[in-house]
């Protein structure tokens, strides 16, 4: 199925662009043929995911793939968001290091360049961990609490841990995830010298609708990222 191939590519892209940082984090996509299912890799470094590592899950986070290997404890982040938000068709949980300051400091991330325009509604910070789980999201209740924090935003930060980014399709979720890192890095750098002029709500919304929501922009970015992954594959293997 082409969606499986695209999800493998998304894993490679998001790792290659330092969003799925190191050996951890994961990206999923809703099954286009059955909205009550979604695809996600087994427990594996994103850089190493291949077609056969993509499993299918239901909205309770149960793995439906027969004879499957170990899966992610954090699958509940994905299942709960798909359950509560029918318009979301792709979810990425990552630990991009440029985002960490905005999860542990009392400074809200706000877009200041067109790269971050889609986050014009802001990004809330989740900090209601089950402390007995040690900063990792392991149970359905916690997945639901994260989902209920998302609301009309396109992402939720997890304190001292990372972020959950969503999109109406896989390529949009990848674009949102990469561009958040770019723009957050800019805000971090600007704040060291002073208070920057942020995008207005209207500027962000208009830019999101007129540019990043367009298939052409998504395709240009996706094709570029694919070419980088392919370069690497050709060089290294």
């Amino acid at each position: 199925m082409s969606i499986i191939k695209d999800l493998v590519t998304a894993n490679r892209i998001l790792h290659n662009e330092s969003v799925l940082f190191e050996a951890f984090g994961h990206v999923s996509v809703r099954n286009p043929e059955n909205p009550n299912q979604f695809f996600l890799s087994r427990s594996l470094a994103p850089a190493q995911v291949k077609d056969e590592d993509i499993y299918v899950f239901d909205l309770e986070g149960k793995c439906l793939t027969p004879n499957h290997k170990k899966t992610f404890a954090e699958v509940v982040i994905h299942s709960e968001i798909y359950k509560h938000y029918p318009e979301v068709n792709s979810v990425c949980h990552n630990h991009a290091q440029q985002l960490i300051p905005f999860t542990v400091l009392d400074i809200p991330y706000k877009p200041l360049s067109h790269y971050g325009a889609m986050f014009y509604e802001g990004v809330p910070v989740y900090d209601s961990y089950d402390v007995s789980d040690g900063m990792i999201v392991r149970n359905q209740d916690e997945g639901e609490r994260i989902a209920s924090t998302l609301k009309n935003h396109k992402a939720v930060f997890l304190r001292g841990h990372g972020v959950v980014v969503v999109g109406e399709n896989l390529k949009r979720c990848v674009l949102n995830s990469v561009f958040m890192v770019i723009d957050a890095e800019n805000q971090y750098k600007c704040l060291q010298l002073g208070e920057p002029k942020y995008l207005s709500y209207f500027e962000g919304k208009t830019c999101d609708e007129k540019t990043w929501s367009m298939e052409m922009a998504q395709e240009r970015a996706w094709n570029y990222w694919v070419s980088r992954v392919e370069e690497k594959v050709l060089t290294n293997y």
Copy 2:
């Protein structure tokens, strides 16, 4: 035509040096055989531009290449500058991330090392967007407003977006674009510890005239950047 080949190389160089950052931004050159025309790629990531992707445009931003594919909405930045500044023969619009702080903070970029000498007249910030266009430059009026901000400067910052850099020829425009990023990064870093000693107006002007305006310096830099692009091509393809 050799100018087409050089423009493709300029795209590769500017991407390779992180000036044409990610999948966006563009560089153009005036047609040496017809000053009322200029060359610019179609809508494509700069890293992927090939000879057949270079189109010819008139000074109203109209694409004259027959059967052409989708072009950049922002072509008006180029056409309006060529129309108003006959001495400008190359234009680069980029989103180099090192420049963003100087577009959204109330801190003017000023050269402090010989790398930035050519910007001794300073760099104005454009902030008169058509808000209904969402931070992207899409119409001729806005292109003209940017052109009228340029005046005797060698670049104009676009708030929360990027920069437009010009040059009297293609290699000079590439050199100006790369070196601005190097010097702006230095200013950014110095300002975190204190107020640096900047180049005097006279130091900048003299360095620009005696060093960066010399074909020898431009060629040494260009040849070096070409060798880096070629290394990459040999490695990756």
Copy 3:
């Protein structure tokens, strides 16, 4: 012996991940068949270590490998720690540059993300050099002073020099070493904008026990790092 092969791989990983920075630093492992011995490379850049460069040492730091070449003066760091801490089975001394601020500033490193959870007991700073040895650890007394600073911690910083990290096995020591760098970099970056919310003692301890102590997490990370080393080898040789 497979432990030799793993130690060579650990050298490559730690260099590849910029922990064994440049041509200096070293990692060792206790002999699983004889707790009074440990393995460590001869005096060589970690990136260049091969099987035949791994020597065996006793707990006085004496090299037992016949006809050996020049060894590290700093072997005493390893021997003294193995002598005093039977539960420690691997030691890494590195100069990762991200750690230096915490060795020379009056700011204690404290974990703020799950990456640094294992350091929930904090990391003491050693600053009792034999000044006549010029910042390098060259004698057994100094090795013992460093060992006695370690206590129940998982690492000791060396002022203006680097760090010593330990683990209950080789893969754990590698993981601790890499993740300390990631988390310390985060703390450094956050402190530029304000005081971050750190992990509580309990959060760190739980995360360490429930996640990083698990063989599955250690293996996932190790396999990922190995794949990066192999890519490089395939590309470069």
Copy 4:
């Protein structure tokens, strides 16, 4: 001659380690067979220097190589230092970007880690340019002024431009140049959070004499840097 080969290698190393940054900067070595001569490449990006590009110069900066191509205007930096300091046998002029803050801010560079120990006497800043030469050193008088600033130091910063580093032999000059960048970057980073504890004069001097002055340390570093250059060559050509 083996010194020519080593000088080519030094060019590659210093570029590969981002010391001979971009297409500019140069490194020279005194002729071991004639102290009144030294070797230096023609005007070329250091990354591109080959055996045939190495020319011989006298202590007035005159090129003695017959039928030579264009040479560096800044040759006078080298010739004047060799003339005034018989114990100096290698000179590197570079624009490593990590050093620029210490050339334009009122903050002296001081070693804080063992990497920078050899600079325990401090590094003066030269700021007596012939303004009509635009930040570039073009005449013998200015070369002499720089030489007279050096005194007992191992380097001189050039305001808004770069540095001149010397060594008693080529490998030492390379090591001094690379390690200055590492240590200056550390000082820069520390100063953003507070005042670090620097090496004492005695610590620096002892470390320099007992470690970096030893042929073994110089060889270990040199061999490591050579291996990195060779990897690149094998990959890219």
